[in-house]
């Protein structure tokens, strides 16, 4: 990738089986504490059953698919506009980064971002987010999440090249907002059931921290 390119992610929903390896790989590499997840995997599911009095199913319309999302390094980043200190900046490869020295942890960026990308790190007092593994890009390596995917559902690169390569201009779907909000650098290859943004038939599931993960295990 050239530093003047615009970095983007490709997510192939027809390959993603929701294993969350990308999330773990990122967490381990970026040393994110519990509660901070640069990448998250949204599950979207819906559908219904027609059941008779014997519990026999006569029809059903159940569906499900996954959307793995980190930061989309948007063309019009809501986080950047919301940041009162100028800590959020668009840098080489068009990557959106937090300048730790300037960030005061007010969380305005987190509230503005429709993708949940900036995350407050209570241990450091400032915001953390996906930086596209920018140091690895400088070395010519892939972002950690991309090279981790066991089902090859993730790719990255210059967004125009990605859209050509995967023949898709889709950048929004449920449960993500419409792309018009921030112009995300995202190329989505849809699953057979992928629904448009703001479609209400399904529900989003983001399993996080249900159980006391910080408790003793026994």
């Amino acid at each position: 990738m050239k530093k003047s390119d615009q970095f983007g992610f490709m997510i192939n929903q027809s390959r993603c089986i929701g294993c969350r390896t990308c999330q773990m790989a990122c967490k381990d590499y970026q040393d994110s504490p519990i509660g901070v997840n640069f990448r998250r995997v949204y599950e979207y599911e819906g559908g219904d059953f027609t059941v008779d009095e014997n519990n026999v199913i006569h029809s059903q319309s159940v569906y499900a698919y996954y959307t793995t999302i980190s930061c989309n390094h948007c063309m019009d980043p809501a986080c950047l506009k919301a940041c009162p200190t100028g800590a959020m900046m668009k840098t080489r490869y068009g990557i959106v980064m937090v300048n730790d020295k300037r960030c005061v942890g007010c969380q305005a960026c987190a509230m503005a971002c429709p993708y949940g990308s900036p995350q407050f790190n209570k241990h450091t007092g400032h915001m953390n987010k996906c930086d596209g593994c920018i140091d690895r890009l400088d070395e010519g390596k892939d972002p950690v999440c991309v090279s981790s995917c066991p089902f090859r559902a993730l790719d990255y690169g210059d967004i125009n090249e990605l859209r050509d390569k995967y023949k898709t201009s889709l950048a929004s779907c449920s449960p993500l907002p419409s792309e018009t909000a921030t112009l995300p650098n995202l190329a989505i290859v849809p699953e057979k059931n992928t629904k448009p943004s703001y479609e209400k038939s399904g529900k989003m599931h983001l399993p996080h921290k249900y159980q006391g993960v910080e408790d003793d295990i026994l």
């Binding site: 089986i17 381990d28 504490p33 026999v56 199913i57 699953e191 993960v213 003793d216 295990i217």
Partner: protein, 791 residues
């Protein structure tokens, strides 16, 4: 270990944890490498490569295989999230760091730190005392698969088996917790239990997956899940999943979900067969030529005259019930229209790949379920052809077997692995005809010593946790329980001694691809030592070497090591594979190269191809040499074996009602069927110790939208799942991804009982019965009935 670990976990980022544990790392390895190859050593059905990146002797992060161009033919063996969590397991606040000795009553979970010398001396003295009193059959090393490597293996053919072997032997086991019913069922059907490679999907017109979910159960990057997805895509194959759940195998490539009530697959198969016979859609030539017992003409001698499968499905058998689609629809919850359509669809697709996972067989009627699904593959003539399959679970095309440590066990008696608790409860009353003992008519003596290595099957992964706990707590029964592990588990709460085990990256070993039996790209690798073991942890080999000396002096020690060092054993193990396959690199070369992948894909395995081509020249390993729809062995067993109330052995693959099954009258009290299943966040109960995994893939209780509505339950509510056996508490996830009338949770949650006896760790086995299945004497733990309510 009595000190709360909570403070450890109040970390300020992972580096906080690392700082806390660094003091345990004694030395930095002399050779200051930064990248080490290793692998994920647990029993998930894949087995993937890992790389540890170290800085100053501490692992900073884990990556995975990045060699080659990652084309499918040379695909990278990419580890899933479990393998990538390895750093969190190594530097884990729950890690067992020192030998621990029980203080207080057994099962209380109170331990104190002791020296290795004290622990091993005590253990050896006790073992020698018991050996003198009871003999070697009193020793048992239960099933456990938390560490499977070549030399470091904690289970079959690992150091502890070798030690017990040279010590004079031990009571062995047959079966395992994953495949007891299918292995025994299909042994009396095909003579063995595996299907062909999943790559057959590419050559099939239609793939029908019965409770088969490869993308979740075998998720690693070179393994079955990825192969399945890629092959279905390339072959443009239609895929139908018959499953109580809309599993993730449905996401992406699969075309249709047919929800089915758990444990009722055999009823569906009977109705499919009925339609195929009525409409003359089945492969008559195949059934006549290759099978016995489908029709009266091919029944073996001595069989009842109306004992054929045809009699069973057409209603001319003993039960006088035609297995019509209407009959099956009330049992399976699948509409009769859909059954008729499915029968036509399967019969007209040539070839049709028929695959079963291990879920349908993990029921009380599991042996019959597995044989029924295989019968469907026969009926449609798909056995022995490319793109077809046996109806068993997909298997491996090729793997290269490394040498393992084991020696001959002088004791030839074995018990079903699920039945070890009867080994103490019944002792010498435990028999072949009632409890499935093999190699002898009865046990000689009760089991007195349990050496549990890398396993959680004493309680958590067994069944009926409360019943089994009571047996273990009784110090007059098992006189010595030793547990070797990396972490505290619910099982080792019952140990007398817990010995700390070294992990991958703390010891060297060799890796052989995929225990999960699927690979057209076999690979081998070396696991390097990247860091010193945490605390006082030792490798299984080193523990056994020390224990051998305590048990029998230098003589036994030399017998155990065979005069070989660890490195010698590694070289020997590699050369076992190389001698058979001379094209493999030399041991010295693999040490340098670290990874070896087959340079080209091997051909996908088609099981029973030879038999299909010439059944007389290549008979199957069954009494008739043919496929036994009617099994004369089972027919004999049905007359001689002593069974539990309500149990039957049937020579035909019929649908049977069972305890806690879909039609048990108990369902009036406990209306929901319930089961546990493999989950991406864990392998059985391994990885629960890593907090990050519990954050990313937390434990949930899946309940159908319709059932949840009736009970006023919403996603995120804390609910209690209960039956007469136990109660578990967890967080509800209301979903349409499970069939109405059924709920489920992920197996492998760690049992943790509150003051009211409610399992807040959400371990499914708290709700399961300890009753073994009729034929295999295995764990039918997916047969569960419950009620669910808001806590």
């Amino acid at each position: 270990m009595q000190v709360s670990r909570r403070n450890f976990l109040k970390w300020s980022g992972i580096s906080g944890t690392l700082a806390a544990t660094t003091s345990f790392s004694k030395t930095v390895l002399p050779e200051k490498q930064e990248e080490f190859v290793g692998f994920c050593p647990v029993n998930c059905g894949s087995k993937c490569l890992l790389k540890a990146h170290t800085k100053d002797g501490i692992i900073s992060h884990i990556t995975t295989d990045n060699t080659g161009n990652d084309s499918y033919e040379q695909r990278q063996v990419r580890a899933c999230l479990r393998g990538r969590s390895t750093r969190y397991r190594i530097y884990n606040p729950n890690r067992v760091l020192y030998p621990l000795k029980r203080v207080g009553k057994r099962g209380e979970g109170k331990f104190k730190r002791v020296s290795w010398d004290e622990a091993l001396t005590d253990i050896a003295n006790k073992m020698n005392e018991i050996k003198l009193k009871y003999g070697n059959e009193a020793f048992y090393n239960p099933y456990g698969t938390g560490t499977i490597g070549s030399i470091m293996a904690g289970w079959l053919d690992g150091s502890f088996h070798r030690l017990l072997g040279v010590y004079g032997g031990y009571l062995g086991y047959h079966n395992d917790y994953s495949t007891g019913q299918i292995a025994n069922g299909l042994e009396h059907f095909y003579g063995w239990a595996w299907g062909g490679d999943i790559e057959n999907v590419k050559h099939a017109k239609l793939a029908v997956m019965f409770g088969s979910n490869p993308v979740e159960t075998r998720m690693g990057g070179a393994s079955t899940g990825y192969s399945f997805q890629e092959m279905a895509r390339r072959g443009n194959t239609k895929v139908i999943c018959i499953d109580p759940r809309y599993s993730d195998t449905m996401v992406g490539v699969a075309d249709e979900w047919i929800p089915i009530a758990p444990g009722t697959d055999a009823a569906l198969i009977a109705a499919l067969a009925y339609v195929m016979v009525k409409e003359d859609l089945y492969n008559k030539e195949f059934m006549d030529k290759y099978c016995v017992g489908f029709t009266r003409d091919t029944l073996p001698e001595g069989a009842p005259s109306n004992g054929s499968y045809m009699d069973y499905i057409m209603g001319t058998g003993d039960d006088k019930t035609p297995k019509t689609p209407e009959w099956a629809s009330k049992i399976t919850q699948i509409s009769s229209d859909r059954i008729v359509k499915l029968a036509r669809e399967i019969a007209s697709a040539e070839p049709c790949y028929i695959d079963q996972g291990w879920g349908p067989q993990r029921h009380q009627n599991g042996e019959q379920q597995s044989r029924a699904i295989a019968t469907l593959a026969c009926l449609t003539g798909n056995v022995g052809i490319l793109g077809g399959g046996t109806g068993a679970r997909s298997g491996s095309s090729k793997s290269y077997s490394l040498g393992s440590l084991s020696v001959n066990n002088p004791v030839k008696t074995t018990i079903p692995c699920f039945m070890w608790y009867e080994g103490i409860r019944l002792g010498s009353k435990m028999s072949a005809l009632e409890h499935g003992v093999r190699g002898a008519s009865h046990l000689k003596v009760p089991i007195k010593v349990m050496i549990n290595t890398a396993g959680n099957c004493l309680t958590n992964q067994h069944a009926c946790v409360s019943e089994i706990s009571k047996i273990l707590e009784d110090e007059s029964l098992y006189e010595l329980i030793v547990d070797i592990n990396i972490t505290r588990t619910h099982s080792n709460s019952f140990a007398d001694y817990i010995l700390p085990s070294a992990m991958v990256f703390e010891q060297e070993d060799l890796l052989q691809a995929s225990m999960g039996k699927c690979s057209t790209m076999p690979y081998l690798a070396i696991g390097e030592k990247a860091i010193e073991p945490q605390g006082e942890a030792k490798s299984a080999f080193d523990i056994c070497t020390l224990l051998a000396e305590k048990l029998g002096g230098k003589e036994l020690k030399d017998k155990f090591t065979d005069g070989k060092t660890w490195e010698d054993w590694m070289r020997w193990s590699w050369n076992v594979a190389k001698d058979k396959n001379p094209f493999l690199p030399s041991y010295d070369e693999i040490k340098r190269r670290k990874i070896w992948k087959s340079p080209e894909l091997v051909e996908p395995l088609v099981v029973f191809k030879d038999f299909r081509e010439d059944p007389n020249a290549n008979p199957l390993n069954t009494p008739s040499g043919k496929i036994e729809i009617f099994s004369s062995t089972l027919y004999d067993m049905s007359k001689t074996w002593k069974l539990m109330p309500g149990q039957k052995i049937n020579p035909l693959p019929v649908f049977e009602d069972v305890i806690m099954g879909a039609r048990d009258p108990l369902r009036k009290k406990y209306p929901l069927q319930f089961f546990g299943y493999h989950y991406k966040g864990r392998t059985h109960s391994s990885f629960w110790d890593a907090g990050v995994i519990r954050e990313i893939n937390p434990q949930e209780i899946l309940i159908n939208t319709l059932d949840a509505k009736q009970r006023g339950i919403k996603t995120g509510d804390t609910v209690i799942v209960r039956n007469d056996i136990g109660k578990i508490k967890g967080v509800a996830r209301v979903t349409s991804r499970i069939i109405p009338g059924t709920a489920a949770t992920y197996q492998g949650g760690w049992a943790k009982f509150d003051e009211n006896g409610v399992d807040v760790g959400c371990c499914v086995n708290t709700l399961t019965t300890n009753q073994p299945t009729a034929i295999a004497k295995a764990n039918g733990v997916h047969s569960i009935l419950v009620e669910i309510e808001k806590a």
